[in-house]
């Protein structure tokens, strides 16, 4: 059995052979399938999982379109020490969303072609082969929507969509969440706003209110009440 066959046997054996997956393994290089399918491990219904497998196996963008998206994404959010488009897997995310939200498809494909048409007319180059200064000249035309306008030209809408997807892709990634400074999603013990924050905002807790609140030291003890409903443990 060659590698591909053995991988297929292993994959279908372990996940249960959904139709979408069988098609997928037949048409997509096994290492791509392996990476895509085993990366995502959160709870989904069998139907949802099958749908995702189908999307993960489909290729919606051509290679040069993906590169163009990557170029654009790096102009929207250039790499810093905190993280990059590549670190945050922004391009695969955008590719997935284009398959997941069909309304995005024509807007993105059309917008990418428009960029090349525009650059060809102005610079006799594709968007990607333009210099960064030229690329920014183009973006300056489409990145500043008129806040008073009732409707926006298609190229402005295209850029706004790409900016949204790039930003949300970045700030929902591991590096992006770290850069944003979100501190939760882990077991902890909420005990109110830190004192220095209260002070900075000129706020304080009302002692009467605090008397109704959780005492972190006794929250593990089983609750008991008197007949009036007063907590006595």
């Amino acid at each position: 059995m060659d590698r591909r066959e053995s991988f297929k046997t292993m994959l279908l054996g372990s996940l249960g052979a959904s139709l979408a997956l069988q098609g997928c393994v037949d048409t997509t290089p096994p290492e791509v399938v392996e990476e895509a399918l085993w990366k995502y491990t959160y709870g989904r219904t069998p139907k949802e999982q099958e749908f995702d497998e189908k999307l993960l196996c489909e290729e919606f963008f051509e290679e040069d379109e993906l590169q163009q998206i990557e170029t654009l994404a790096n102009l929207i959010l250039p790499p810093t020490e905190a993280g990059s488009i590549a670190d945050a897997n922004v391009v695969p995310f955008i590719e997935f969303m284009a398959k997941d939200v069909p309304e995005f498809q024509t807007k993105i494909k059309g917008g990418l072609v428009w960029l090349d048409i525009y650059c060809n007319a102005k610079y006799k180059l594709t968007f990607r082969s333009c210099t960064e200064a030229q690329q920014k000249e183009v973006l300056d035309l489409i990145a500043w929507p008129d806040p008073e306008a009732k409707e926006h030209p298609h190229e402005v809408q295209f850029f706004s969509l790409m900016r949204n997807l790039v930003l949300t892709g970045y700030f929902t990634s591991e590096v992006g969440i770290k850069e944003l400074g979100y501190k939760g999603n882990e077991p902890n013990n909420w005990d109110g706003v830190p004192q220095d924050v209260l002070d900075a905002h000129g706020l304080s807790y009302d002692p009467e209110w605090l008397a109704k609140c959780v005492d972190p030291n006794t929250r593990g003890e089983i609750a008991q009440w008197d007949e009036e409903g007063n907590l006595i443990s």
């Binding site: 895509a36 995502y40 959160y42 709870g43 989904r44 219904t45 949802e48 749908f51 999307l55 102009l75 929207i76 959010l77 250039p78 997935f96 969303m97 997941d100 939200v101 973006l139 990145a143 929507p145 706004s160 900016r163 949204n164 930003l167 949300t168 700030f171 929902t172 591991e174 969440i177 944003l180 400074g181 979100y182 501190k183 939760g184 999603n185 882990e186 077991p187 902890n188 013990n189 909420w190 109110g192 706003v193 924050v197 905002h201 807790y205 209110w209 109704k212 609140c213 959780v214 005492d215 929250r219 593990g220 003890e221 089983i222 609750a223 009440w225 009036e228 409903g229 007063n230 907590l231």
Partner: protein, 572 residues
Amino acid sequence: MQIIESQKSYDVIIVGSGAGGGMATKVLADAGLKVAVVEAGPFFDPADPKTRTQLKWPYESPRRGAGTQRDFGEFDMAYGGWEIEGEPYNQIGDTQFDWFRSIMLGGRTNHWGRISLRFGPKDFKGKDKDGLGDNWPIGYDDVKPYYDKVDKLIGVFGSNEKLENDPDGFFLPAPKPRLHELYYIKGAKKSGVDVIPSRLSILTKRINNERGVCFYCRQCNRSCSVYADFSSGSCLIFPAQKNGGQVDLYVNAMVSEVTIDENGKATGVKYINKEDRKQYGLTARVVILAASACSSARILLNSKSEKFPNGLGNSSGLIGKYLHDSTGTDRAFFVPELMNRKRYNEDGVGGLHVYSPWWLDNKKLDFPRGYHIEIWGGMGMPGYGTGFNPNSLNKYLGLKVGGYGNGLRDDVKKFYGSVMGVSGRGESIAMKDNYCEIDPTTVDEWGIPVLRFNYHWTDYERKQSKHMHDTFEEICHNMGGIPLGDKPTKEQDYGLLNPGRIIHEVGTTRMGSDPKTSVVNEFEQLHDVKNVFVVDAGPFVSQADKNPTWTILALAWRTSDYIIEELKKQNL
């Protein structure tokens, strides 16, 4: 098609496993009765790592939590949604009723907001206040002992405030307010709007050794794997089983009708097994419907026979009528003082730590019923949508909107946690002309005729919504905030959301003493068929400015006690 009859016979069949069905299961199984729970969706246990989404990060999903698969985001624990493939519903005329279903063990209790408010004395007697709608045949004193028992069995945090229509209870301690909630308290008090600790069925303190204590991840909508929030499976059905109860779970079993004998007494149910698409029969001495207000009405209306040509229990012609939902409208605020916030973990519990119960007297207002205000915001976990329009708020600061480059990183960080919002949730008037009925032109994929809806708001609700927005703006300005978007106009029904949208639909099998004007009696028993009961929100005469779950639970317990007594007396 031949019906496959089960050899097993039960004391009680319970159709549906949400709040009402779960409570009936717990009480009746604890009393030693043989119970079959028939659930249209799959088995679900919040503790099962295979289905768990709690504590997952957005980047663990290819769509980063977007709502393309599940309406409230793909980590939300409701299998279903506003539209379900193969299980449609239709609208009559220009009606826009939105019907949310969660088809799984535990139903919508797996993802709900856990806001657990008792109805007050006035809520059971609305007609006495303003002549509109009807009074319930029971009052607060009838339900109070059951509310007390529900508080202690399931657990709810809150505070005793001695408010006349927001009764005290047996509360666990409340979590301290978050920063944006302190801003809200300041703004609301300036306008004379009361604010008190919220009341949510989340364990901020241990209530027994079977369930865990909240560890503050703010993800109750993903259903808690340590059972620190109330879900019907983890808090009622599994404990009933572990307690030695005789409970058989039938999952993926879609009940199509209640069966009867020649005397018009219920004998059991028929259901379609979703796995083999065959029809099965189950028999019992008592049938309890708890499939949700509209689904239970659908089952009864589809249970047609020579004796009951208009559907079972429908001699009044009122099954499906008086359908009503809470009113709702929302507004977001930008609070400049909350820009550039210091970062710390402020997840807290899943939902609001404070809220405003109804604080005014409708006699002095141009709409008849009240509303409460819910508060949301804070430095929550990023999800799909975080970073959209990254600097649109710049327009309030006199700065440019749009652009590209690393300034956008700074914008997202600057505004993180500076937008909060409020939601008004109010009481509507139950109307006979707002209803669901069987649509004879359409069946679902299980061959069962579906529902169609007829529902229109009146000026009672529109004027209430206008008042909500006036209040929201005043509070927002008091806080130094800027209300986002435009204030909804009269032409936009003052922002009133579509009926159904608040997911508090009730009233389709309403309770009353007179069989001509109601479907069930005060014990949620069909007037026409003594051994059939409805323990979801169908029997609600009116849906107060509270959330319905705590009242569903209290009434289901009360009804279950009644069933036990009646069985002992051999009356069923």
